[in-house]
Amino acid sequence: MSLRIGIREGVRTITRNASLFIMSLLVTSISLFLLSLFAFVTVNLYHFLNILDEKIEIIAFLEQNADYEALESNIMKINGVRDVIYVSSAQALKDLQAELKETEEVLRVFESNPLPASLRIKLLAKFRNARGLEEISDKVMLLRGIRETIYGGELVDQLKKITGVITTFDIALLLIIIFSVVFVIFQTIKLTIFARATEIDIMRLVGASNTFIAIPFTFEGITQGIMGGFIAFVLTVITKRVAVSFLSDIYFPQGYFFLGSILCGIIFGIIGSSLALRRFLK
């Protein structure tokens, strides 16, 4: 069958059965929208976890009157260190007070400042785990003028654990939703093809080959996928607009979402119509 006829047949299949096409398209759109919405939530979750990860650091307490500038440049030379920030004793107290004020106001009770000056050491991404922290901390401890280092090993563990749970949970949900969406789209396409079973039978009796019959339906599936993907994308953009109005920091890589929606639509459309047709073209 020539491409020209294939396309013309596909267009006919759609226009002559417009109600079926529209019903099926709506289901596809909504399904893809749910998928897209979930991807949106996931992306923002990771974005947030990433910001938390950025906060992992080593605090090195300095001895009284240590030469913090020399220490800074020495620490910067250690493999894995990204940045070093000096925090004076006075600043430390202020920070602590500011931080604790919101949780426990106990520290107002202090009269003298027991806090030493410190260096806050930021790490490269791949060192932001218990082992990396320990390694670098050990190296820092060897330097003269460092009294003690702390790096919230447990905090990192906690964070990693939470991230792990969330990730597992998230991937599980994502799989469930992908599966559901593919399944729903597939069954819906099957229903629309089923509604035309008589027509397909007649085509076969008149001598149409399986390919001849399949091409228009596949074309319909792809069209539905593209249109469904596009509608899903538009709905996601609207959702994002609304979300922005009450959650300030929202991450939405528009281009990827556009391509993703359309691509998923096409892939599901092709798979759906091929699988659905198999029953009729044995």
Binding site: M1, I5, R12, R16, N17, R196, T198, E199, I202, M203, R204, L205, V206, G207, A208, S209, N210, F212, K282
Partner: protein, 219 residues
């Protein structure tokens, strides 16, 4: 061209529709198949285009043993056969014209030839003015004519006509018979199932009569 060799067809529930049918039809023959309601005329035709499988026996069509014909080659066989179905089997979401064109498109006919052949047959059957009507917009007789046009348009090797005049008035019926004789004259083998004995008597061609699922006469 068509050989039936001891063909028996049993539908589920042990309903014997045809029993030990044997005959041979040569290229270019015109054969009537007669028998009363439920005799098995349609069943016989269906087995020729491999819509039904015989329970026993061998069928050869166009030098091919149908039992050995691979599934993927069935469309090729069907494209060489024109069938006028008893229940028309028109594509409901296509216009008259598109229904006829469809039969040509599946055979990869060039667009130019397609238009020509189609216009010819539609004019011949006086259907041109209804070209853009969908089946549900046509009268019973008009639908039957479309079914006839679709079978004729691709100049098949074999033409199977299952009760092609059931919904047509006397004059149209006669015209259709004339068309079938004409196409037969040009070389197509024609099998026509009918219970209309009057038509058969007029035409004087070979007739297979089926009675109680058996071949009662072949004259």
């Amino acid at each position: 061209m068509i050989t039936f060799d001891n063909v028996t067809k049993v539908y589920q529930k042990d309903w014997v529709a045809l029993q030990d049918i044997s005959f041979f039809i040569e290229k270019g023959e015109f054969v009537f198949i007669n028998g009363k309601t439920g005799a098995g005329k349609s069943t016989l035709l269906k087995m020729i285009y491999k819509d039904e499988e015989p329970t026993k026996g061998t069928i050869k069509v166009l030098d091919q043993n149908l039992r050995l014909l691979k599934k993927k080659n069935i469309p090729k066989l069907r494209r060489k056969i024109g069938v006028i179905f008893q229940d028309f089997k028109l594509l409901q979401d296509r216009t008259l014209e598109e229904n006829v064109a469809f039969a040509l498109e599946v055979t990869n006919t060039q667009p130019r030839d397609l238009r020509k052949q189609m216009l010819e047959i539609l004019t011949y059957l006086r259907l041109s003015h209804k070209k853009f009507s969908f089946p549900y917009q046509l009268s019973g007789g008009e639908q039957q004519k479309v079914a006839i046009a679709r079978a004729l348009v691709r100049d098949p090797y074999i033409l199977l006509a299952d009760e092609p005049t059931g919904n047509l008035d006397e004059k149209s019926s006669q015209e259709i018979i004339d068309v079938l004789l004409d196409i037969n004259y040009k070389g197509t083998t024609v099998l026509m199932a009918t219970h209309n004995l009057k038509l058969i008597r007029k035409v004087k061609k070979r007739m297979l009569r089926i009675e109680d699922g058996k071949l009662a006469s072949d004259e």
